[in-house]
Symmetry: D2
Subunit: 300 residues, 4 copies
C-alpha cells in the first residue's frame, strides 16, 4: 500500500515496528523513532532520529498552550543540537522551504519572517552582541516553479560562500492520517528528503549532501485526498463487525487487492489536498511557535 | 446517502432526473436545472432555476480563457436579470458572503473588493454618471463568528434603510464531486439557502424572505473530506468488475448499508475540507471573472 | 493656519489653551482635553472629553510594552464606559472604519478581525456564556468608494434593526505632528467627526446623530505631506536664532502670511501621506493592543 | 544641499546639466541621462546610461494605460539588452530586492512572484521549450534585517554556482520630487548602488562587482519627509514674488544657508517616508507591468 506521508512515525506504524518510544509530558506526547539502515529501506525514509511531537491535546488558538508547546520544542531542539555538537559559537543557517502564496505550504517562509537573525551584527557591529547570542542567518529560497532554481543549488551556493556549521530547515509536510494535520511537529537530524511537503521540491537536504548537520522541523499541513479515500475504505473493510461481509475481499491475493486499492484512489491526483478550514490561522500560530522555539534554543 | 453539496445539478444527478438541459458553447458547458416544488423536497434545494456553468475545459490561469468565461457569465447574468425584470434603472446591492481570512471562503469578499459601485455617485454627483450605468452598491457583511450578527439581519437592515430593487449574492460553495471544485459556477434565482458554503452561515437569503429578487452566484471551492471517503468507497463497491467480490454488501438492506456508510465517513467532521493546492491563485482569478461579469451585465 | 489633525490635543496646543491636564504613568503620558462649546468652535472639534494617550516612550515591537499599553487603555476605557453609564448588561456594537487594503487606513478593520464578539451566543446559546461577559457585536462597514453606501447609513440601519446601547468606533486618524504617528491613542466620548482619518469618510458618528453613546478610539497613522511642509517652514521662521533674518516675514500682515503659507503647501494634495516605514508591522501590533483592551474592558 | 534621490535625472536637474535628451511618445516621456566619469562624481551616481520613463500622464489604474506602458518598457528593455549583447541564448537571473512585508519596499519581490522562469525547464524538460524562449531564473534574496546576509553575498553565491550571462535587478527607489512617486520608471545599465531604495541595502550590484551586465529597473515609491520639508522651504524662498521678503536669507553665505537648511529637515529621520494613499494598489499594478515587460523582452 502506498502511504503518502512524510512522518517516519506513521510509516513505521504500519510495520508495528518496535523502533519507537512513547513519552508523555502533560498534554504533549513525544514519539521517538530510530530509523536504522534496515528500517530505512522498509519505510523509504532516510536514516536518522525522528522525534514526533503530538500536540493534538493542546489548543493552538490558546496563548498558554502555544507557550507550553514552544517551551517543549525549545528543550527538544537544544537536546538535538547538543547531540550534533552544535553550541552557541557555531554558525547556523535557517532555511524556510515552501511557497508563501500557497497557504498550507507557507510554514517555512513564515518562520523565516519571524525568526531572529544575528549574522549581520556579527559582521558589522560585533560589540552590540550580548553573550550567549549565537551567529545565525536565514533564507527563504522560494520554490522551483517561481525561481527556476533547485533549492539544493541555492543552499549549496550559500554554504560555499559563507562559513556555516549547521542548517535548520523548516517545511510543511504531508501526513497520511488527517488527525495529524497541524497537530504534529516532526524534528529529525536526517534532513529533508526529496518529494516531501505540499509542493514538489526535489533533491535531498542532508548532512550526506551538504557536509554539515541538517536539522529538519516539519509540520504536516495536508494529507492527500487519496489518503482519505484509502483510509476510509480500509476503515470499513478491516472492521471486525463487517468481517463477514468483506470475506471475499480479504481473501484476495495481494496483487488483486492492490488493483482495487488503485481503483479507490484513482480519482485523486496530488493536486487535491485535504486540510483544515482554519489553516490560515493555524499556520500563523504554528510559525510563531517554531520561530520562538528556534530563537530560544539558539540564543541564551 | 447524505450528499454534502450546494450544487442543485449534483443533487439531481443522483436521481437520474430529467429536469436538466445540457448545452455546449465551445469549451464551456451549461446545465440548466429547474427545481420545482416536488424536486425541491426530494433534493432539499430551494425552488428556482439553477444554471451550472462547467468551465473544466478552460484554464483559469490563462487570460484568454478568463475573458471567455467572463463573457459567457455576463450574457447568462443579463438573461437572468431580464427574466427577473431587472434593468439599468433598477437599484441593486451586491453581497459578498464569507470570510476574507479563510482562503476557500474568501470568494465573496474578494468580489466585493473588485466590483464597481455607483450608488454614492447617484447620491452625490449625479451629473458624472454616463448613460447605461446602473445604481449599485456592495457589502461584505462578514461571518457570524467575527461579527456576532446574522448575515440576514445585516442585509435586512440595509434593505429597510436604502431603496433597493434586487440583490446579487456571491458565495463560496461546497461540492460533492472534487472535479467540480473551482471549475463550476452556479447561478440561480433561488438565492442562498442556510448552511451553504464553507463556513457556517445561517438563514436563507431569498425573494421569499427579503421581498426582492435574489440572484446567487456560487463557486464550489471545497468538498467535505467525508465526500471523498464515501465517493471512493462506492466507486469500488459499485464497480461492475468487482461485482462478485462485493455481492454480500450489495445485498444488504438499506439501513444496514447506511450503518456502514456512516462508518466510512465517521472520521471526518466538517472541519476537514478538500481543496486544490492552487486555491489562493484560483480564488484571485475567479473573483476577477465574477466581478467583471457583474460589471458588464449591470452597466452598458 | 490650516491644521490637518484629528487630535483635539494638537488643535488646542496652538491656542496655548488651559483646557488640558497632563498625567504620567511610568512611560505612558495621559493628556485630557475638555472641549466645551466655545473651544469646540475655535478648534473645529466636536464637544466632549478627549483623552490622548502618549506611548512614544514605549516600544510597540516589545511584547511587555504592548501589555503595559493594553492595560492602561483597558483601565481608561472602563472609566469612560462607566461615565457613559455603560455596564456589562449593556449591548454594544464595535465599528471598525477604514479600508483593509490601504495599510495606514486598515486599523479599524484589523481590530474587528481580532475583537471577541458574543451577541450570537446570547441569541443562540445563552447557557454557554459566563458571568461578566457582555453582549457585543462588531462590523467593518467598508469605505464608500468600495460599497457605495455612507458608513453612517449602514450603522443607522444596524441600530434600527438590532437593540443596542452604545457604540465603540475605531479609526485611523491624521495628526499634524509626525512624532504623534503610531505613538498616540486618542479616546473620546464625542464620536468621530466628518472627514477624519486617512480616507474620505463622511458624516458624523456621534450620540447626537445616533442617539446612543459613541466612544471613539483613534490612532494617527499618517500626517499630510502639507503638514510636514508648513511645520518645517515655521520651525525655521519662528526660530529665535534666525529672528533677524526673517524679520520682514514676521512683520507681514496675517493675510499676506497666509498667502505665502498656501504657497508652501501648494504642491501637496491630501493624496500624499507621510507615514513610518514600519507601518505594516505597527498596525498589526496596535490593532492587537486595541482589540485586547476592548475585550478586557467589556468582559470581566 | 543633500538630495535624497535614486534618480539620476533628478540629481542632474539641479546642475542644469546638458547630459539629457527628452523624447515623447504619446503620453509617455523618455529622458536619457548619460552619466560619464565627471558627472558621476558631481551627482554621486554610478557611470552608465539612465533611462527615465515618465508615466505621469498615464493612469496606472486603467488596463489600457498599463498595456501601453508595458509595451514601451518592453521595447526600451530590448534595446538596452541588445546594447549589452544579451540575446535569447543568454542565461539571466532576475533579482527582486526589498521587503515583501513593507508595502512601498515590496516592488522587487512582487515582480519575482509574477515573472516567468524557465531555467528549470531547460535543465529538466528541454524538449518542452518553444523557440525564442530564453533561459531565465529569479530570486528574492530578502533584506539583511530578515536574513542576516548581504544581498551581494547571496547574488555572488548564486553566480558562482550556476552559469549566468546577465542580471536584471528590480528595486523600489527613493525620489526627491513627490510628483515622481509611482509615476516614473528608471532603467539603467549601471546596476544598483549602495543605500538605495526604501530599506537599507548595502553594497553595489553592478558589472564592476559581479562581472556580468546588471540592468536595474527601479520605481520611486517614496520620498523622504525631509525632501518635502526642504523642497517646500525653497519653493517659497526662491519664489520671485517674495524676493523682497527673503533678501536677507538669500544674501547669506553658503555655510550659513546650510545651517538653516539642516534646521528645516532636522525633525525627519529616514524612518519617516512620504508615499501615496493608494500605494498598495499602485505596487500591484506596477509589478504587473514590470514583470510583463521583462517576460516580453526576454521571450519572443
Amino acid at each position: 500500500m502506498n502511504f503518502n506521508t512524510d512522518l517516519a512515525s506513521e510509516a513505521v506504524n504500519t510495520l508495528k515496528s518496535k523502533n519507537k518510544t512513547y513519552k508523555e509530558f502533560a498534554n504533549i506526547k513525544l514519539i521517538e523513532t530510530i530509523v536504522d539502515k534496515n528500517l530505512s529501506k522498509e519505510i523509504n525514509k532516510k536514516e536518522g532520529d525522528y522525534y514526533l511531537v503530538d500536540i493534538s491535546n493542546e489548543d493552538i488558538n490558546d496563548s498558554e498552550s502555544l507557550l507550553r508547546i514552544e517551551k517543549f520544542i525549545t528543550k527538544l531542539l537544544k537536546k538535538i543540537l547538543r547531540k550534533e555538537k552544535i553550541n552557541n559559537s557555531s554558525k547556523g543557517l535557517i532555511v524556510g522551504l515552501g511557497n508563501l502564496n500557497i497557504t498550507p505550504d507557507s510554514l517555512g517562509p513564515k518562520v523565516i519572517d519571524k525568526v531572529i537573525v544575528t549574522r549581520h551584527l556579527f559582521e558589522l557591529d560585533k560589540d552590540s552582541i550580548s553573550e550567549g547570542v549565537s551567529n545565525v542567518c536565514a533564507l527563504s529560497p522560494g520554490v522551483m516553479g517561481t525561481t527556476g532554481i533547485e533549492n539544493i543549488d541555492i543552499i549549496k551556493a550559500i554554504i560555499d560562500k559563507i562559513s556555516l556549521d549547521y542548517i535548520i530547515v523548516i517545511d510543511a509536510l504531508k501526513a497520511f492520517d488527517i488527525n495529524r494535520v497541524n497537530k504534529t511537529i516532526q524534528i529529525t537530524n536526517s534532513g529533508i528528503s526529496p518529494g516531501s511537503g505540499v509542493g514538489n521540491r526535489r533533491k535531498e537536504l542532508s548532512k550526506d549532501v551538504l557536509g554539515i548537520p541538517v536539522i529538519a522541523i516539519g509540520i504536516p499541513t495536508v494529507v492527500d485526498a487519496s489518503s482519505i479515500a484509502i483510509n476510509s475504505f480500509y476503515n470499513v473493510i478491516n472492521n471486525e463487525n463487517y468481517e463477514d461481509i468483506f470475506t471475499k475481499y480479504n481473501n484476495l491475493k495481494p496483487n488483486q487487492k492492490q488493483k482495487i486499492e488503485e481503483e479507490v484512489i484513482s480519482n485523486y491526483n496530488s493536486n487535491y489536498i485535504v486540510s483544515l478550514k482554519e489553516i490560515d490561522i493555524d499556520i500563523e500560530n504554528l510559525s510563531e511557535v517554531i520561530s520562538g522555539a528556534i530563537d530560544h534554543a539558539l540564543h541564551f
